[in-house]
């Protein structure tokens, strides 16, 4: 296997509060190879976005990385001073946020925001950067880019603004994109377009992507591998096809079961009973044990690590010592 572009090892994120320390991410490990798209799914509050924020070094205080390492091209970036990390953001790791209506500064033209991003990271003078900015707007599918470059964000529709955000995230040609629910705030009809654009640009530029979403359809279509998160931990990780078709962890199979099938009538959608535990009350043992249909005694006492299961890796005692599939 080639050297991973991004490697996250045993990442732990804590929030010190008055009523004790909350552990928002615990023992999160994964890697992303060059050109690979890793999907990250899970319920709200499972720690998907937090993982993304930790990678780009923008955890909301008082949240902090309390343990583990983040390596980019084999170099640790989780302990860099702010000024050095800044040079990595945008240049080596680009970010796309959820709501395009609020991620653009309303007081500056989109052109100015593109130009300032490029001149910060690339050896371009403002005129060259402006020419590049027009190219980028064309590339993300903004019609009449050379005129629209001097428009303000409020003069674009939501879908168009997310295209501008994509251009902004990619314009300094980073090797990795952290896309945090890039389509959640968009109309359904626009979502597919934006995902297709993101996918084709990533492939064209050879950019790796960490795609955070709770839309399994988007993952199935876009990602190479998928990580399922629950209560701040990765409970299953593996190739998309295998996870979708043969989810090993009972939580993942519950998630997959709650996707309505296309072309087949279904009277009731399957649902997972109960709710994810609050960070202050994560149960002992496997955090999923109170909701798990296949729970047994060991789950309530001991916490499972990721172990081979159904060709993926799953954190579930069902697979401890179980015979391995190929």
């Amino acid at each position: 296997m080639t050297v991973p572009l991004l490697e996250v090892r045993n990442l732990r994120v804590e929030f010190p509060t008055r009523r004790g320390t909350l552990v928002a991410l615990d023992d999160v490990s994964f890697s992303i190879a060059p050109g690979e798209v890793l999907g990250v799914v899970g319920e709200s509050g499972a720690g998907k976005s937090m993982t993304g924020a930790a990678i780009i070094g923008l955890l909301e205080p008082p949240g902090r990385i309390a343990g583990g390492q983040i390596l980019l091209n084999g170099r640790r970036i989780d302990n860099l001073p702010y000024a050095e990390l800044r040079r990595i953001r945008g240049r080596e790791i680009g970010a796309i946020f959820q709501d395009p209506l609020t991620t653009l500064n309303p007081l500056y033209t989109v052109g100015r925001q593109l130009v300032e991003t490029m001149t910060t990271h690339l050896p371009l003078n403002p005129a060259q950067a402006r020419a590049k900015a027009i190219e980028w707007l064309e590339l993300v599918g903004i019609p009449a880019a050379s005129q629209r470059i001097d428009s303000y964000p409020h003069e674009f529709s939501g879908g168009m603004r997310q295209r501008v955000v994509i251009a902004l995230a990619l314009c300094a040609e980073p090797k990795l994109i952290v896309a945090d629910e890039p389509t959640t705030a968009l109309d359904v009809s626009i979502q597919a377009q934006v995902i297709a654009l993101l996918k084709s640009l990533a492939r064209e530029k050879g950019t790796s992507m960490m795609l955070v979403t709770h839309d399994m359809g988007v993952i199935a279509e876009t990602a190479d591998r998928v990580a399922v998160m629950y209560a701040g931990r990765i409970v299953e990780i593996g190739a998309v096809r295998r996870v979708v078709q043969h989810a090993a962890h009972p939580y993942s199979s519950g998630l997959m079961g709650s996707i309505p099938p296309v072309g087949r009538r279904l009277d009731r959608l399957q649902q997972i009973d109960g709710a994810m535990p609050r960070l202050s009350a994560i149960p002992r043992g496997c955090p999923y044990n109170p909701r798990c249909p296949q729970v047994f005694d060991r789950c309530r006492v001991e916490r499972p690590e990721l172990m081979p299961a159904e060709g993926n890796l799953a954190a579930c005692w069902l697979y401890d010592g179980a015979p391995q599939h190929a």
């Binding site: 007081l107 303000y152 409020h154 003069e155 939501g158």
Partner: protein
Amino acid sequence: MFAFIVNRLLQALPVMLTVSLLSFAMFAYVGDPVAIMLGQDYTIAQRDALIADLGLDQPFFVQFGKFVWNALQGEFGLSYRLSRPVAQLIVERAPATLELALCAAFLALAVGVPMGVYTGLYRHSWLSRFFLTFSLIGVSLPTFLIGILLILVFSVWLGWLPSFGRGDTVNLGWWSTGLLTWSGLKALILPSITLGLFQLTLIMRLVRAEMMEVLRTDYIKFARARGLTNRAVHFGHALKNTLVPVITITGLQLGAIIAFAIVTETVFQWPGMGLLFIQSVGVADIPVMSAYLLLIALMFVTINLIVDLLYYAVDPRLRIGRGKGAH
């Protein structure tokens, strides 16, 4: 843009007319000008002659019309106290007040905005805590007390700065300025601080609150995620987004500084319009009072217009001829 200005001017018209009515009403209801002008001993004939002379026997609307017409030409009659044209008195005094007010406003902005940015960015540093404590003094101590304390320290104890007056002035046409002489500048320091301290702390607290608000927004997070320098994020993106409320408050406060320079001018015996006004109130010098009232109203209207125009300069979303908005 032109249509907008015309529209605003038309809106200002009723405001100015209402204020005119009030300042005109002063003549009728505050004291009796005839009694004041005639003094203790007079005959009925003298009194009637004066009433006819002043036009006080004419119907109300004719008198009001005349008043407005004269006011439009800058004609406010004679001061009872000084027996000189009011317009002339005000023109003599205006430069002193305007210089003082602008210095105070400049001080408030030049110190208040950076302090606000700093305390907004570094909320927990000891310097921020010090600034905030200091701002409580500015907000809660009354102006006259601050003035007197400053005089005590810098004029009486240390003897560095003059305690009253404007120092030497230079005439540039009709405008007399204290900005060009050393003693004039020295005389300006204490009154400017006294007058501007409250606005300074107000602006600081406002900028701080707005900065804290803006720093939480997604576009600031996104600007950081794009790897922009702190300088670009804080001053280019964050500060500019705090400007609309800051401009509003600064504009209103500038009006307030000019209008309520009275206390500061009294404490420092500053020869400006406020001192003129307070001296006129003492002897019910109604022409001066009513002209002052009108002038201040005009200033507020003008400042509001400028503030509205500045909004357009700062925020593209407000500009006329907006493009197709979202959705």
